[in-house]
């Protein structure tokens, strides 16, 4: 696989994952459980949009066809979106939202921590900024998971349910293919399999503090989001997100 083609896809995968999660964060705006959390979730949404824009812009440049970040974000269909399925899962409630941010955030943090040393300067630069952001996102989500897990019976049940229902999207976070292999060889991408042990440790530590039991292996695990195989939720999210540019393709906003 050509490095540039692999790199394009690698960037779009990261950008899509950030953007779809940002879109979910936007849905909370004005409806949070407390004003401070409205501010926090908006903040994380903004970080994620920023990450998406950085990686889309770089992808557009690598592609060299004159497309923009918005062309990539707004004019692709479900099957062309390369985000991990975890982030497209609906908000459901605050417990789901925090658990989703946490499970994704731990890996994203570890990934960017490795990518700051990428041999590709742009990837390294974008990752440096994203790493600072993900450090905060993980801390924020961890604190809430612990609070909810060790708060009231109701909150414990809700965070437990979130964990059990979202767990099926965790193996997929580590999926890799020839895109990754090509870029790992040239020192650009990071080998996700090497991050698994540390991810396990981060997750286990927080779950223990939250008095939650880690789901056992063996249940259904989704596959292939990063190659366009998604859950039913993504189509609805995209039809809302992309509606205006699709309805008025000649307009400049």
């Amino acid at each position: 696989m050509e490095t540039n083609i692999a790199l394009y896809k690698y960037c779009v995968r990261i950008a899509d994952t950030s953007l779809i999660l940002a879109q979910r964060m936007c849905e909370w705006c004005g409806h949070g459980p407390v004003l401070e959390e409205d501010i926090a979730m908006s903040n994380m949404g903004l970080d994620l949009i920023g990450q998406a824009r950085g990686f889309y812009s770089y992808a557009a440049k690598l592609e060299g066809k004159g497309r923009t970040e918005d062309d990539i974000a707004y004019f692709r269909n479900e099957r062309e979106f390369l985000n991990r399925c975890l982030v497209e899962q609906p908000n459901t409630d605050f417990a789901y939202t925090m658990m989703r941010s946490f499970l994704h955030g731990c890996l994203s943090y570890l990934q960017f921590r490795t990518l700051v040393k990428s041999k590709d300067d742009t990837i390294a630069g974008l990752s440096e900024k994203a790493l600072k952001e993900m450090t905060y996102h993980v801390r924020h989500a961890s604190e809430w998971i612990i609070r909810l897990g060790d708060g009231t019976d109701v909150s414990h049940q809700k965070i437990k349910s979130a964990l059990e229902n979202l767990w099926q999207f965790t193996d997929e976070l580590f999926e890799m293919d020839e895109v990754d292999q090509t870029l790992i060889k040239s020192g650009i991408a990071c080998d996700l399999s090497l991050l698994r042990a540390e991810w396990d440790q981060m997750v286990n530590e927080v779950l223990a503090k939250a008095k939650l039991v880690r789901p056992t292996a063996g249940g259904y695990q989704s596959k292939g989001g990063f190659n366009g195989a998604h859950t039913e939720h993504l189509g609805h999210l995209l039809s809302e997100m992309q509606y205006l540019p699709r309805a008025y393709p000649d307009a400049i906003w």
């Binding site: 936007c26 949009i49 824009r53 889309y56 109701v154 205006l244 307009a251």
Partner: protein
């Protein structure tokens, strides 16, 4: 208990309070203040904070449909600012002796008001332009005046908030300018937005001076520094040329420049509509209250969990 001594003390306090205001000094939370002053400020500040929070809803309505990533980021940052303003003003209002939970309870039970403008719907993307440009523009005119008010925490909050509101208004105007330079459909959306928002925005300044109760005391205490009509005129005078510059029409046939007064003359405002919206009968009053109540209700278990966890930790 109304002994001559207490009356005398009271008078000494009032004299000192009035002298402090006349000298241009601010009143601070621990200073003595008349009950009416405290009550009025609490009413204004809590209404203002509620407006920031309810105001997140009509813009939040378009956040997930923002037409570009840049617009999405700017809108999200703007709404986040509004949440921040809400938090900041609630904290300021708490210095008057009422806590945030109580103020929010007053909002949710309908006892407290918020800006009437947020009871209008946002129906197309250009509304994000109109809200930023016109609604935040009107807010700036009001808040620039409030930045000179006599209550220190409110005045300082307004100075800081006005800086952000300026950015909000500019981003709104930029959206409108883009739309007016865009396709036919975009120009129609922009005009439609201005047609719907113009008059309700003029109503944001409140009833005309002739029908505005309580204004004398408020002026004397520098809680209010300019009359509703003065501020409304100031807004119109600065906004009409901006509309002309981008080619959007203000929906008022009587609008014209008066070279003698150096102000724009404008048509009659339907204050019955304002009264109706303020008393709960605007297009979105029920929706906004439902959205706020739902968020509060759905978040109750989260807040309870946070309190329960904090209590467990403090005992440990």
């Amino acid at each position: 208990m109304n002994t001559p001594q207490i009356q005398e003390d009271e008078q000494t306090h009032i004299d000192a309070f009035n002298a402090r205001i006349s000298s241009g000094k601010t009143i601070e939370p621990k200073d003595w203040m008349p009950q009416k002053y405290r009550k009025q400020l609490l009413r204004m500040m809590s209404q203002h904070a509620h407006s920031e929070v309810v105001g997140m809803l009509p813009e939040g309505n378009w956040l997930t449909r923002a037409p570009s990533l840049m617009r999405k980021a700017v809108l999200l940052a703007k709404i986040q600012d509004e949440a921040g303003h809400g938090l900041y003003i609630y904290s300021g209002a708490e210095t008057l002796g009422t806590d945030r939970a109580e103020m929010i309870d007053q909002l949710l039970t309908g006892k407290a008001k918020y800006a009437s403008i947020f009871n209008y719907p946002t129906l197309n993307w250009a509304d994000m332009g109109a809200v930023g440009w016109l609604v935040d523009g009107a807010a700036i005119v009001n808040q620039t005046a409030l930045a000179k008010c006599s209550y220190g925490p409110y005045s300082r909050a307004m100075i800081r908030i006005c800086k952000e509101e300026n950015f909000h208004s500019k981003q709104g105007y930029q959206i409108m300018a883009h739309m007016m330079r865009g396709t036919k459909e975009q120009r129609e959306m922009a005009q439609d937005a201005v047609n719907r928002f113009w008059w309700p925005v003029l109503m944001m300044f409140g009833p005309s001076d002739a029908d505005s109760p309580n204004s004398d005391d408020l002026m004397k205490w520098k809680v209010k520094l300019y009359s509703n009509d003065d501020l409304r005129q100031r807004f119109i005078d600065r906004t009409v040329p901006q509309a002309e510059a981008i080619g959007v029409k203000i929906p008022d046939d009587k609008l014209k420049w008066n070279p003698t007064t150096r102000h724009y003359e404008f048509g009659e405002i339907n204050f019955d509509e304002l009264k109706s919206v303020i008393t709960g009968n605007g297009p979105c009053n029920k929706l906004r209250m439902k959205q706020r109540n739902d968020a509060h209700k759905n978040g109750a278990w989260v807040r309870e969990a946070a309190v329960a966890y904090a209590e467990k930790k403090s005992k440990a």
